[in-house]
Symmetry: none
């Protein structure tokens, strides 16, 4: 067979895998958005059969043979084809190098872990959860060994979410960020300027939905290839051909749903910007979690919390909610948009202190994997770190080490991407401003098209060609650094709180 024929057969397999995965993903969306209360048993069976079918397709030995053929013929492949083959190889290895018995045990353990976590969290009692967590770490190391990363298990977990990233790189970036961040947070929290908590109340769900629809459409989300619904935990799933975002509404927290939706819209815009003809291969897939998060964060923070954005949208917000906003000044509204207040709960954190939550988790994960922190000592280590970084001590483990679900399912090396995304967003943002000095004036007129087009050309169109570090350097000409993020946070928040 010619290399072209082999490559083309590989594409057929990748297309099939992609379609099966996309169906499984839709089932997941439906489970969060639509599933009747007592239908979970059927859905569990449906999920299991789709996982089995996806695994069969991804681990089809024919794919292995085709990849072997293509490995011999690399010189004949174009640069794009090499990207496709490189990532297909990685996916194939992940699908085939784990023994079936281990995969089964992992699935069981994820379920056991979830329930142990939920129980421990409800009781605010870490002790019952500790053995499960210890086993999850052991299994993560075992998995790394199967995949050939036995000497660097934590790097393996990080690479799963952010290809090309490593604990050493993250450690360096986070340490530098922390040095700038801690005094900034102290400066802001000791300010006499305090956003009012009660300024925005009684916003109808219908009105909120109408307004966030207008905002997200204006930012460029294509509702002819996507939709937004309600779920308990907001997320964005699907791919550019059919994006399913979710949000949740609280009548007294309209900004929570609005910014959550802008955040998910950022994810959705990235997916919609990926080359549609290539959704089944690395050329049409996101570069990784960090870059994904850079897109959601840029639209949410650099764009959505800017003066220019609100210059355009404030009159519309007041039109939609005349009664609710009549007693709220522009300054009060803008301060509510940019509220900073340390909290113990990551998902409730503002955009400054959020980074400290991530650094805290990263430092702890590193120690857990290095064996320098025992699982039994986690609650104390967590509480000490929370006090040191956030100036707050959890009253119990529910407010501390038990607050997040991720570790219960074995998802380690996942949190750093959130903070890496913030850094990438800020670095891309300042570079974009040098390319388009009039950008904020355009925002103030409600025109967000230049930024979207620029991101589509420079980030989205590249798919998975480059990892986050390479992509950032290619676009901005500089290595990834925490300094743009620190600059952005200072420029946004110091004038508001410490002028």
């Amino acid at each position: 067979m010619s290399t072209d024929t082999v490559y083309s057969e590989l594409l057929t397999h990748l297309n099939r895998i992609h379609r099966i995965d996309s169906v499984a993903s839709l089932l997941g969306w439906d489970e969060q958005v639509n599933l009747p209360a007592d239908s979970a048993d059927l859905r569990a069976e449906q999920n299991a059969v789709m996982a089995e079918l996806a695994h069969e397709a991804a681990g089809n030995p024919r794919v292995g043979e085709l990849l072997k053929e293509l490995a011999k013929a690399t010189v004949e492949l174009s640069a794009d084809q090499q990207v496709v083959v490189r990532e297909a190889r990685k996916d194939y290895d992940r699908a085939t190098k784990l023994p079936a018995e281990f995969v089964r045990e992992k699935a069981t353990q994820a379920s056991v872990g979830y329930h142990a976590w939920a129980k421990a969290r409800a009781a605010a009692d870490f002790a019952g959860y500790a053995p499960v967590l210890a086993k999850n770490i052991t299994m993560a190391k075992q998995e790394a060994t199967y995949l050939g990363w036995g000497d660097r298990p934590y790097d393996y977990m990080i690479d799963l979410h952010d290809p090309g990233m490593s604990a050493a790189v993250i450690d360096k970036l986070f340490s530098e960020l922390k040095v700038g961040l801690v005094p900034l947070v102290q400066q802001i929290t000791s300010s006499c300027v305090k956003p009012r908590n009660d300024v925005l109340v009684g916003f109808s769900v219908e009105g909120q939905l109408k307004f966030l629809r207008e905002v997200t459409e204006k930012l460029g989300f294509n509702y002819r290839r996507g939709r937004i619904d309600v779920s308990l935990h907001p997320f964005c799933s699907g791919n550019g051909a059919d994006i399913r975002m979710t949000t949740r509404f609280k009548e007294d927290e309209p900004l929570s749903s609005l910014f959550g939706s802008i955040h998910e819209t950022g994810h959705g815009l990235y997916e919609q910007g990926l080359p549609q003809a290539h959704h089944a291969t690395a050329l049409g897939r996101a570069a990784g979690m960090g870059v994904h998060e850079s897109q959601s964060r840029m639209w949410e923070n650099q764009v959505g919390r800017s003066r220019a954005f609100w210059q355009y949208f404030e009159p519309r917000f007041r039109e939609t909610f005349p009664a609710q906003t009549s007693g709220v000044s522009s300054d009060e509204l803008y301060l509510a948009v940019n509220k900073v207040a340390p909290t113990l709960i990551r998902v409730e954190a503002d955009e400054i202190t959020y980074n400290l939550h991530i650094i805290l988790r990263f430092e702890i994960e590193q120690q857990l994997f290095a064996g320098t922190l025992a699982v039994a000592d986690l609650p104390r280590a967590w509480n000490d770190a929370a006090q040191a970084m956030l100036g707050l001590t959890p009253a119990n483990d529910r407010e501390g080490v038990l607050q997040d679900v991720h570790w219960s399912g074995g998802a380690f090396g996942y949190f750093p991407s959130y903070c890496l995304g913030n850094m990438i967003a800020a670095q891309l943002w300042y570079f974009a401003l040098t390319q388009r000095p009039t950008l904020m004036d355009e925002f103030a007129r409600g025109d967000f098209t230049w930024l979207l087009k620029w991101l589509q050309t420079n980030v989205h169109a590249e798919g998975k060609r480059y990892d986050a570090l390479t992509l950032t350097k290619r676009i901005t000409g500089e290595e990834l650094s925490p300094q743009p993020l620190l600059r952005y946070l200072r420029e946004r928040y110091l004038p508001l709180y410490c002028a």
Copy 2:
């Protein structure tokens, strides 16, 4: 291997097939309810891959081997097991006698057909849809040939929906029905009693949804294993573990959505009444479309349009819509519920003339399959038949041949089931009344439990053990006949219109 072991392995396969089918069905529901306007291309690909996976699972050669083993051991199988094996054999033949390429093409064509129909219907332009329809008929005949029904393709299509039924049987039943029906319609439409068209206006969608929720819950629908949403064309999909019904709302036609929803609830109650442990086999599956329709029709018509039903629900209806019902008398309301007025649109037809719509389609389908009517001549043939039977001529194809979605997906031989369902419903109904003379008094108190329980025991619990003709005879002791339906229509409508 022992027969038990073989049977048990067959069950494992049937469970897997059922789960894959149920995922494909959910995709279909999502396509009608949620799919963004431009995402049809991805959905067509997803449908195709699911059809392929379902086909692979259903046609797994191992299933064929197991069935062969079980054919030798029939004496060792219980009566129930024999039902399971008999239907599994039928399904296996359908799965294996169609080439994979044909199945793929059919799935793609169904999606293409749906969108072509929707477009043609919106534009009231048949010409663009004609080639799709012609291809669907060709493919249906091709399919019949693959299954060994090449000489009776229309009977094949009928049997697909209603096992054991044939065009000859239907022709005989429909002819006898027509003889009684046409003079009845003339008697009613020439009556001086005319329901007012403008009596019910301005019913908010929220209020309608609230009221139909109350009604359908009272009838026994379990919303913890099902839901109702909005789609262009109302339907009921899923299985008893997770029922997805749909409806549509018009503010000036509250009864349309209400009775549509009661109808779909009838389907849902049947599915929810099928033995849950057996959803994957014939023991937990519906007997066929005719029996399915008998359930939806009985709840919609015999129950929902009865005086007793409205004795209970009228006060609730007025409570929900005090302003809209203040000028409407009880008699006006009940006449609106039992409005008879020939219309061009099947789904808007009253329950008497509805049967004429079905007979119209049956006669046209027969001609299309016999080759005595060309697709290009359909609009004219349709319009002529509408004039002859309903006394009305469509102003355009949206009101005529384009009104229904079914043919776009290749569903021929499907419409007769609607009228067969009406006949079965009436025959079961009169028999149920002999068993429970107090039934209407219970309805008037809002108690619908006896009827549901009786249907669960006599119809739902039987699954697919018996075909429609056998089941009707077993329950009522009589052969299926159009006479109970004619009796019911006369008893319901003559006192209202021709007293």
